[in-house]
Structures are given as C-alpha cells and as structure tokens.
C-alpha cells in the first residue's frame, strides 16, 4: 500500500496519466465545437474495442506492432540515441521474412522460425548500419535513419518486382503456408481475428527488455553511455561498439514488426508508395511510456485500443477517426513537454494554498 502511494507520487507516473486525461478532454471539447456528441463518440469507441471477441482479438493485433516499435525506439533512447529509422527496419524485416517464406521450401514450424530469425537479422543489420555510420564517420543518426527508410522501401520494391511479383497486382506473391505463424485454432476462437505466435514472442521480448536493461552488464553499459558518454569512456567501456550493439537490437526488434505482419497477418508484402508509419508511432509510445518495459506496454495498449476503437467512433457517432489522431497527438504533446503539466500543477497548488490561507 505504501509502495503504491510512493509510486503514485512519482512524476513518471502522474505525468502520463494527466496527459491522457487532458488529451481526452480536449478531444471532447473539439467534438462539441464540431457539433458531435463526445459521450456517444467515446462510448462507441469503447464498444468497438470490446464489442465482440473478434474486435478484442483485432485490438490485440493492433497493439503488438506498437509494443515492438515502442521498445525499438526506447532502447535507442536509453542509449542516448534516436532511432527514427524503425520504419526502414520494419520494411527490411518484412522483406527478409517474405524472401524466406516465399522463395525457400522448408518443413512447417522450422520454416516459420527461420523466417522470423532472418527477418529480425535483416532489421538488425539495417539498424546497425545507422550506428556504424555514426561512430565511424560521425553521421547524425536522424539523417541516416530517414535516408535509410526510403532506401529500404525501394529495395523492397525492386526485390519484389524482380523475384516475387504477383502478376496484375501491386503486391508480392503469398508466403508458403508452411511459413505462416498464424495460430488457426486461436484465430477461430476469436472469430477470425488474426492471432499469431508473435503475440507470445512479444511478451518474451518485453520481459527480456526489462532484464536486459536493468539486470545485465550490457544494459548497464547501455544506460551509462546514454546518461554520460564521457564517464562511460572513462570507465573503460567501448562506446562505439555499445552504440552498434544497441542499434542492432533496436533494428532487430523493428524487423520483427514487419516479420510478424508478413508471416502472421497479411502473408504478402504490398508495393506501397510509403512506409506504414508504425515506426513513427513507436516514438510516441516510447515517449509516453518513458522508455520502460511496463510504460511501453501500457502506452501501446492505449494507443492500439484508441486506433482500433476510432473506427467504431466514426461508425457509431459519425465522428471522423482523425479526432483520435488529434487526441493522441495532444497526449504526446503533454507527455513530451512535462513542463507544461508541472506549471498547471504549480498553479493549482498555489491556488488551493491561497484558498486555505
């Protein structure tokens, strides 16, 4: 009980909570101004999420990539770096998984495992490139990340068109059934929601992230570099190799997003004009979750549910789903600018003090 009280007094707990409340309230105000009924909108949002087992399953499916994207960004943040290249790592992961799934024949289960490993490796190498450019040539990671995002996208286009094009469509051929990681009986249980092994792997990765960060030597080194590079160097750590290692892990987690989407959800890869945007959502997730395993889990659950529920909002209350994007943006704004919230709290405290006296 005391522990809970202490926890609630911590800024890292109440700043996200207040941000969420402010976001939802401002969303409601905007809906009112626009002539919509915010209560109906939010209740249909909630109804959409819990409306049927299918919806619950699909909400979970929405959450899985967000958790991974959040962790990928968070691990780089903890190391004092900014991975804005998760987008490209997702594409490379998808491509790796697709190539194994489509071009190679292997027995079931093994095929899926190999495809997952290759997908993660593709993403990891794509991530490591960013850190290598940074430590060897001093290239700012934000610039290389954004460039590599586009390079990855076009590599995927070329590869698909050259080897796996599905005639008459703008997508690749399907992966072989042996490479699918969808769990049929669970999907059936959830009325066809696309449930796959990635759900369980994600739980392991979340726990692994916590242990890596807080219990292992490598996590200690990563945090030391992130907090104070000079002190890490003084302590004899190899700052360059730690940066490369961190970006490799970050990229591998990003690669898994694409891997799971290809092997467990869509079974093919589209030749899209743009990347999915999940990697950018990961930045928001990591920010709100303050780069901790639990925080990332909670914030991705919130965002995933909001995204999925937004469809119900437009259906049930005729509110454009963009409103939810705005709500999320407001939450992120306040979570990323905690100074604004501290100011509110200070004003509030002073006011109540004055009323007392």
């Amino acid at each position: 009980m005391n522990n809970l009280k202490r926890l609630l007094r911590q800024e890292s707990v109440w700043i996200p909570i207040i941000s969420i409340v402010i976001g939802i309230v401002i969303g409601a105000i905007v809906m009112l101004i626009g002539g919509y009924d915010p209560l109906l909108a939010y209740s249909s949002l909630v109804q959409k999420i819990f409306g049927s087992v299918y919806d619950v399953g699909e909400t979970l499916r929405q959450i899985v990539p967000l958790i991974l994207a959040g962790l990928a960004v968070a691990i780089a943040f903890r190391g004092g770096m900014f991975n804005i290249g998760v987008e490209g790592q997702i594409v490379m992961g998808s491509l790796g998984a697709l190539m194994v799934g489509n071009m190679i024949d292997l027995p079931p289960i093994i095929h899926g495992i190999v495809a997952i490993i290759v997908g993660a490796l593709f993403g990891g190498i794509w991530g490591a490139l960013v850190a290598i450019f940074k430590v060897k040539r001093g290239l700012n990671e934000v610039i290389s990340c954004i460039m590599l995002n586009w390079i990855a996208l076009y590599i995927s286009h070329i590869t698909i068109k050259a080897f796996m094009a599905e005639a008459g469509t703008s997508r690749s051929q399907m992966i072989h059934d042996s490479a699918s990681i969808q769990i049929q009986w669970l999907s059936d249980l959830f009325n066809g929601a696309r449930i796959h092994w990635g759900f369980f792997i994600v739980i392991f990765i979340l726990i692994g992230y916590y242990y890596y960060m807080n219990r292992t030597k490598w996590g200690y080194e990563l945090r030391a570099v992130g907090y104070n590079k000079h002190a890490a160097e003084y302590a004899g750590m190899n700052v360059s190799s730690i940066a490369i290692r961190t970006f490799f892990i970050s990229g591998a987690i990003g690669g898994l997003i694409g891997t799971f989407e290809v092997l467990g959800v869509f079974k093919y890869m589209a030749i899209a004009a743009n990347t999915s945007g999940t990697g950018f959502d990961g930045i928001a997730v990591a920010l709100l979750g303050m780069n901790s395993a639990l925080g990332v889990f909670l914030s991705s659950t919130l965002f995933g549910a909001l995204y999925y529920g937004a469809q119900g909002m437009s259906f049930g209350a005729d509110v454009p789903p963009e409103v939810i994007k705005m709500v999320i943006s407001i939450i992120i704004f306040f979570a990323a600018a905690p100074g604004a919230i501290r100011m509110f709290i200070k004003m509030f405290k002073r006011k109540s003090k004055r009323e007392e006296g």
Binding site: R215, K217, E221, Y227, N228, A231, A232, Y234, A235, M237
Partner: protein
Amino acid sequence: MAQPETVLELKGITKRFGEVVANEDISFALKKGEIHALLGENGAGKSTLMNIVFGLYQPTEGSIWVNGQEVLMDTPNRAIDLGIGMVHQHFKLVQPFTVTENIILGMEPKSGLRTDLKSASSKIRQLSEQYGLNVDPSAKIENISVGMQQRVEILKTLYRGADIVILDEPTAVLTPQEITELLAIMKRLASEGKSIIIITHKLKEIMEVADTCTIIRRGRVIDSVVVKDSSPRELAEKMVGREVRFKTDKSAADPKQPILSVKDLKVRGDNGQMAVDGLSFQVRAGEIVGVAGVDGNGQAELIEALTGMRRVEEGEIDLDGVNVVNKTPRVVGQSGMSHIPQDRHKHGLVLDFTVPENAILQTYYKPELTKGGLMDHNAAVSLAEKYVKSFDIRIPGLDVPVRAMSGGNQQKLIIAREIDRRPKVLIAAQPTRGLDVGAIEFVHKELIAERNNGKGVLLVSFELEEIMNVADRIIVLFNGQIVGETYPDQTNDQELGLMMAGRRQGGDSN
C-alpha cells in the same frame, strides 16, 4: 557619519523541503555599500537562502524586507524590480550573441518595431566605464574569456538596475589573475554604493574583500563577524564546527623504485597543436609528485594520455614494467592505474546513476559483480555500503541518483572507488576543486595515506597551496614542457609562480 542604512533584511527564514530543513530561522542584514560574505560548507544551505532572496524559492516561514519594506518575493522578476541581481555560478549567456544582445535579452529597448541596439550599447559602455568593468559591448560571448563573461553577467544585473548584487561562488571558474580583478571590481561596486553578497567557501577571498561575514552551518546562522576583526582560522572553525589544520600533517616520504616512467611524451590537444611536448618524468612508489602550472599548459592532455583517453603521438609510458602507450582506459586501469578525474560530473560519475551503480563503474564487469552477463545487485549495494561507511559519505539514501549529493560527497565516492581498485599509481587531477575546507582536508589525508601504502601518486593541481602542502616533489608545467623540478621545502610561492609563468628554473638569483 550616520550608520549606513540596511537595504536587505531576512527575518527568521526557514525553508523545508518535505522533511529536510535547508534553512532554519535565518536572520541576516545587508547594509548599503557593504560586501557581505556568506560562508558555509557545501550543502550548508547558502544557495537555498540566496534562491529565496532571488524569488526562486518561497520560504516556509519568515519574511524578507527590502529598504525597510516587507516584500513578497514570489518570482525572480519581482526581485529584479526591487533592485536585486544574481550572478549564478553557471552563466546564463547565449554564446553566439554579442555582449549587448545578451544583456538586453528579455527586455529589448524598442524604437518602432526595431530593437534599439545603439542606445543599449552606449548605456552598457557607460556602465562598464563607471564600474571599471572594461567590457566591449560588441564582442561575442564565445570569443571572450570566462572572467569577461562573468563581468557581462554582473553588467547585466547593473543594467537592470540592481543595487544589490548576489554572486554565487564567483571565483570557482576563474584563474588567479581573474580572481584578483574580480575582487577589485567588487570593491569598486561597493564604493559606488552597491551592496554585494558573495557566496563562497574560500577564506582567502573573504579576508581580502568582505566587510562582514555570516557563517552558515547545517542551515543555521552560526555567527556574523566583522572580517577585519577576525582570522581565517576563526572563520574556518566556525564553518566546519571543529578545529581545522591548514597544514596537512605528513611524515617524510620514503620513495622506492620508479613505478611510472614517462619518456619524451608528445600528445596533441583538441586544436591539433602539440599540447604535451616532449615530457619526461618519473613517479616513484611511495611518493607524491605534484604537477604545478596554470590551467591549459598541457595538464589535461597529459592525464588523458596517461589514462588511455587520448592518443599518444610519440614517447613511452611505462607503468611498473608494462608499456601502456595507446592502450584503452580499461587496459590501463587493469595494469594498475587509478584516476580521480578533474571533472567529476563529466567523467567521474554518471550523475543519474545511484550510489551502487556509480560504485561499480570501473569494475562492473568483474566476476564478483557480474556472472554470465547478469549483474549481482546485492554485491553492488554492499560495495556501496562499504564505501559509504569507510569514507563517511553522507547521502540521503543509496537509491538516489548521485546528482542529489553534495560535491564533497560525490568526490569521496570517486576516491573510495579509485582507491579500492588497489592501483600502483593514483592520478589525482584537481581532486579538491569546489570542495570545502573539511572535504579538502579529507582528500589530502587519503592521498598521503595512499603514498604511505607505497603507491605512486601524481597530483595535478592549479592551486599552489595544495601542491606545496601535499606533494613530496614538484614539477612545473609550462606550454606542455617541464620548466622546473623542485621540492616543497626548497622553494616558495614566488619562485613557483615565476616558473608557472614560463621562466626556467635557475634563471635568476639562487
């Protein structure tokens, strides 16, 4: 002549942070035209008190009176309106801006839509002349020295109409010459009717410049004394609450075999110039070698090269028979070198790490602390507890970031960690920078104890007093070269001062 009026008075100020009492029932009076020193150890509550005066904190109890009127000091802007200016220890200046632009920032004089730089600039020039500050209003901050930047901060308070100027540890960042100039400026300001509060723990400066000195210990006022009727010893004892020894007790050194040999060492500085230019010297086991010199004569580069943090261009470094030239810091450390770095915030500690996490910074990978990649949290905690106990480190708790500890306690933690590595050679760079009398005494004792244990100690310091007190042998560095070697009992401040200015040994008399 009538008694000068009281311009600022604090009555019964108490400030609590939760359960911690930072200031307790402090009363304090500043007279017009007076230089009033606020003396106390790190963490005694001086800065908290001044932040209350400047409107950054609200007192829990007590009142503030300015020019005989009780005031509610709720924001720094209120303090500025009342004619109070504060120069912080870390300057708040925009580097690429000019002096004028920095001074008017936030209250730009307007002529129509444009900022009237011309009138501001001439007003600044006039103020600068009036108080002998000698500041060029059109110079860019990034191009002027630290001492000059500090004068810009002082000028900023004057420009905003300050009659009371608070200086927070103003000499910590200055060279000896700049300190002399600053003290002269303070006297000039006082003679022009400004009142000055100087927060410091340097007794010498107080004796030189202050009229009155208020001593604070553990949040309470111990005494307010007239400086000219007091002595450094009296002030120091009131500050730490017990007797202090200015001369460090130590037995004669008993140097054994050379344990660190440096030969013809050449190291480049950040600008590409040869910062260490052909250095040769030895440190023997059981000896403290003091490296004297003015900051910027190659000390930083020498230490970084010795500890593996900077590339050696040419030369040899022999650490008890092992060649450590261009080895990584880890390898150099494992070969028997410990290093108390000059900048404890930049290198010595990860400020956001807890005490145990910092205690294991150099050894976290060793089998006693990590097995198969998994760290043993309990081992780290018991190591930290050992350091805390044996070095009397005062901390709010093991699990708080070391950022929350005072400078002296942070330094104790570093020293505990570095000595515990059982080095053959201990490099101590400015080990007492920013520490108070009590902590300095402690650090010096530890260095001497290491020497008595048969370690070689290399002490790099810009404070002549420290070198003279602690070192067994002194080498003087100028422009990356050794210009003299001597012993504390065979030299004096004047001779060392001349060598530090570049005159080679034996150039005159003697």
